[in-house]
Structures are given as structure tokens and as C-alpha cells.
């Protein structure tokens, strides 16, 4: 065993002395060129390393941009609605618009109106237009919806006029227009009709009262 180990060492040493060749330079260059070319054509490499952070950054930027845009549009509309009832645009409202559009007054005044950006012009136009009266609009909507209700349609098909038509064509013998202008007086008129024995007219007037003043609590 010991002799074997000595033989191994002797042969190893002799071989170490013998084997001193080195890889030629042209082979080194060739292999390194191959390695470099492979790295440059890797499907991974730097793009892969940066793709995920870039995707996150793009997503966050997009979300921020959308949020800012929505906030600006909402505040613009709110300010336009608030300033709308005053039919004439006040200097204060115009100043608000300038602030919203990030333009100071001095700068806004110095800019020719034709050179103002389309977005700013549109926003100013919205601010200058008088907004419709909210109460009147709501009442018109209510009346239109009431005409379109299935119950109203059935009522009309059964030979009865709708409340609007009834109130327009109603004879003053039942309840006068003055009495119908106020639910309290209208109710007194209905009570008078009931007392006079005209049950049909009283019932009709009651229904019209409910339709016209749905929020009024009947006794």
C-alpha cells in the first residue's frame, strides 16, 4: 500500500514536470469571443433584470396619472356647477378657473384669447354658461316619469286623464286652481266635496293630490 502511494507520488511528480503546456492564445480569444457573443444574445440579461421594476413603475405612473386626471375633471365640473347660477361670470369664478388650469391671472391676462388652449377655452365656456335651475329640472323630470308610469298608462287607458291633463282641464266646480296650489287648501276642498256627497269627485281629487304632492302626509 505504501509502495503504491510512493509510486503514485513519483509518477504524479514526473507528470507535473512533464505537463507544462498552456492553452494557445488564439484558443483563449476564440472561446472568450464565443462566451461574449452568447451573453450578448441571451434572451435574459439586462432586459429581464429590469423588466419587472419597469413594469411596476409604469403601472404606478399610469394609476397616478388617471387619479390626477379624474380629480382635476371632477373639481372642474364642481366649480363650474357652483358658479353656473350666477349667469354673469364673476371675476372670482374666472380666477378659480385660472387656478384650476394652473395659470395665474397675470399670465392669463397676458395670453391672447385665441392662443388659449382648447381645453382652457372649453372649461371657461362651461363656467360661463348658466346652469339649468336644478329645482325646475327635477320637477320636469318627475312629471315626465309620472306620465310614463304603468299605473298612469292604465289610468289613461281606462278613460281617465292623467293628473297633468286633469289639473289643466278640471272644472272649477270640483277644486279651483287656487285651492290646488296648496295641499292644505286642496285637502279642505276634498273634504268639502265629501261632505257634499260627491264621492267620485272627492276620490279623484284625492288621487290627484297624492300624485301632485307625493311627499304630503294625508291624514
Amino acid at each position: 500500500m505504501k509502495n503504491d502511494r510512493n509510486d503514485d507520488q513519483q509518477v504524479s511528480a514526473a507528470y507535473s514536470d512533464l505537463a507544462s503546456e498552456r492553452a494557445p492564445k488564439h484558443l483563449d480569444d476564440s472561446v472568450m469571443r464565443m462566451a461574449k457573443a452568447h451573453v450578448e444574445h441571451l434572451p435574459y440579461s439586462r432586459w429581464t433584470a429590469w423588466s419587472r421594476p419597469l413594469a411596476w413603475a409604469a403601472t404606478v405612473s399610469l394609476c397616478l396619472a388617471i387619479t390626477l386626471e379624474v380629480t382635476q375633471v371632477t373639481s372642474l365640473l364642481n366649480s363650474a356647477t357652483e358658479t353656473a347660477p350666477a349667469e354673469v361670470t364673476t371675476p372670482a369664478a374666472e380666477s378659480d378657473m385660472d387656478q384650476l388650469l394652473y395659470l395665474p391671472d397675470s399670465m392669463a391676462d397676458s395670453i391672447d384669447s385665441e392662443k388659449i388652449s382648447p381645453a382652457r377655452s372649453a372649461a371657461k365656456q362651461v363656467a360661463n354658461e348658466p346652469a339649468p335651475a336644478p329645482v325646475l329640472e327635477a320637477k320636469e323630470d318627475y312629471l315626465q316619469k309620472r306620465e310614463e308610469r304603468p299605473a298612469a298608462a292604465a289610468y289613461k287607458s281606462a278613460g281617465y286623464a292623467t293628473s297633468a291633463a286633469i289639473t289643466a282641464d278640471m272644472p272649477d266646480s270640483e277644486c279651483s286652481a287656487t285651492a290646488r296650489s296648496d295641499p292644505e287648501s286642496w285637502l279642505e276642498c276634498i273634504a268639502a266635496l265629501e261632505a257634499g256627497g260627491d264621492e267620485q269627485a272627492a276620490l279623484r281629487q284625492r288621487e290627484m293630490l297624492i300624485d301632485t304632492f307625493p311627499d304630503f302626509n294625508l291624514p
Partner: protein
């Protein structure tokens, strides 16, 4: 002559190997081959260069003595590194990198033998040994003669025995790793190595009889 060779071994061999290991341990931490390969897989060319410089000469000597032709050794050398580079994307450190590399080299050599059925047994290269400037003329002549005999004996070894001996000496592989590279069992590898060493020792010790 034998005593001169042994004196040379005692002076040079242990000093050089121990010194290398000691300096490597003290100076810096060397990254492992598999770690370098994984870094190259991620696109680090410098890691590959370190890996290449670490193994290029040993692999070249292995192939040179296995093929016994410089041009063929050059071709196979490039082929081996080309395969390592191409397979870098799929590399997984399941075994020692040297085992992985020499398995590729062994397989490339087998392919080379199949392609070249007229494989000659005569070597066409001479060892690049330069005489040691410190040697006396007589010692230098003896060393040169010993090298020539060892070189001739090495080229005369059967391919399998030479392969196992070179894997043991150049790559520093263990018997199990040699078995893994060559695809033979451990006892076969051990037997081939023993035969190879015996033949080489005889060639060194008894030059007159073998020549």
C-alpha cells in the same frame, strides 16, 4: 538517475502545491466554479473568464494527451467550451463543475474517435518543457530524458487507461468522479488507473529495459 529525480521531487513538488493552497487561503476567497457558472448564466462575462482561466490549461493538456494531435485537441477544446457556453442557460449545479466539464470533454473525445476511425496511435506533438535555469547540465539532461520517456509511455497507454490517468492527474478527480465521467464502475476505473501508473513508473525507473 532515480535518486536525482526523487531529490527533484522532494524539493519542488510539495513546496509548490502547499504554497499555492496556502496563499489562496490567506489572500482571498475564491468563488466556486458552480457559482461562477451561475453568474455567467445571468450574463456576467467576467465570471466566465475567471472560470475559463482556472481550467483552460488543464483541460487543454488533458485533450492534448488524449488526442495526441494538436489540431484535433484544439478543435475538441473549442467544442467543449462551446458546449459549456451553449448549455449555460440550462446549467444546474448538481455536481462539481470539473466533473461536468470533463464529462463533456470525454464525450467529445469519444465522438472524435468515432468520426476518425483511422485514429493513429502516433503522437504528433512534443512536450513544451523548458529546462529549469537552476538545473545543472547533467540534471537537466536527465530530466529531459525522463520527460521523453514518460511522454512516450503515456502515448503508448491504451486510450481508457490514459483517459483515467489524465482525469486523475490533470482534473484531480476522485475514482468515483472518474467513474461518473467515463461511465464505468469504480473498480474498473481503479484498475485502469493502477495499470497506467505501473506502466508509467516502469517507464520512468527502467528506461534501458523499456527502450
Amino acid at each position: 538517475m532515480v535518486s536525482a529525480v526523487r531529490t527533484f521531487q522532494q524539493v519542488h513538488q510539495p513546496l509548490s502545491r502547499q504554497a499555492t493552497v496556502a496563499y489562496a487561503a490567506v489572500m482571498d476567497h475564491q468563488p466556486e466554479d458552480s457559482a461562477l457558472m451561475l453568474r455567467y448564466k445571468d450574463g456576467d462575462l467576467a465570471a466566465f473568464e475567471t472560470l475559463y482561466r482556472r481550467h483552460n490549461d488543464a483541460l487543454y493538456r488533458y485533450l492534448l494527451r488524449l488526442c495526441r494531435h494538436r489540431e484535433n485537441a484544439d478543435d475538441i477544446f473549442q467544442e467543449v467550451w462551446g458546449k459549456i457556453i451553449k448549455a449555460a442557460d440550462r446549467y444546474r449545479p448538481t455536481a462539481k463543475f470539473t466533473t461536468y466539464m470533463y464529462r463533456i470533454a470525454h464525450n467529445c473525445f469519444i465522438d472524435y474517435l468515432r468520426r476518425n476511425k483511422r485514429h493513429t496511435h502516433l503522437g504528433d506533438f512534443d512536450p513544451d518543457c523548458q529546462p529549469n535555469p537552476g538545473d545543472l547540465p547533467e540534471m537537466a539532461a536527465e530530466r529531459s530524458l525522463a520527460r521523453e520517456r514518460l511522454h512516450a509511455a503515456l502515448l503508448d497507454l491504451p486510450d481508457e487507461q490514459r483517459d483515467v490517468f489524465l482525469l486523475h492527474e490533470e482534473a484531480g478527480l476522485t475514482l468515483d468522479e472518474i467513474s461518473s465521467v467515463t461511465g464505468s464502475n469504480r473498480e474498473t476505473s481503479k484498475s485502469r488507473l493502477r495499470y497506467a501508473i505501473n506502466k508509467l513508473r516502469i517507464a520512468i525507473d527502467e528506461p534501458a529495459e523499456t527502450s
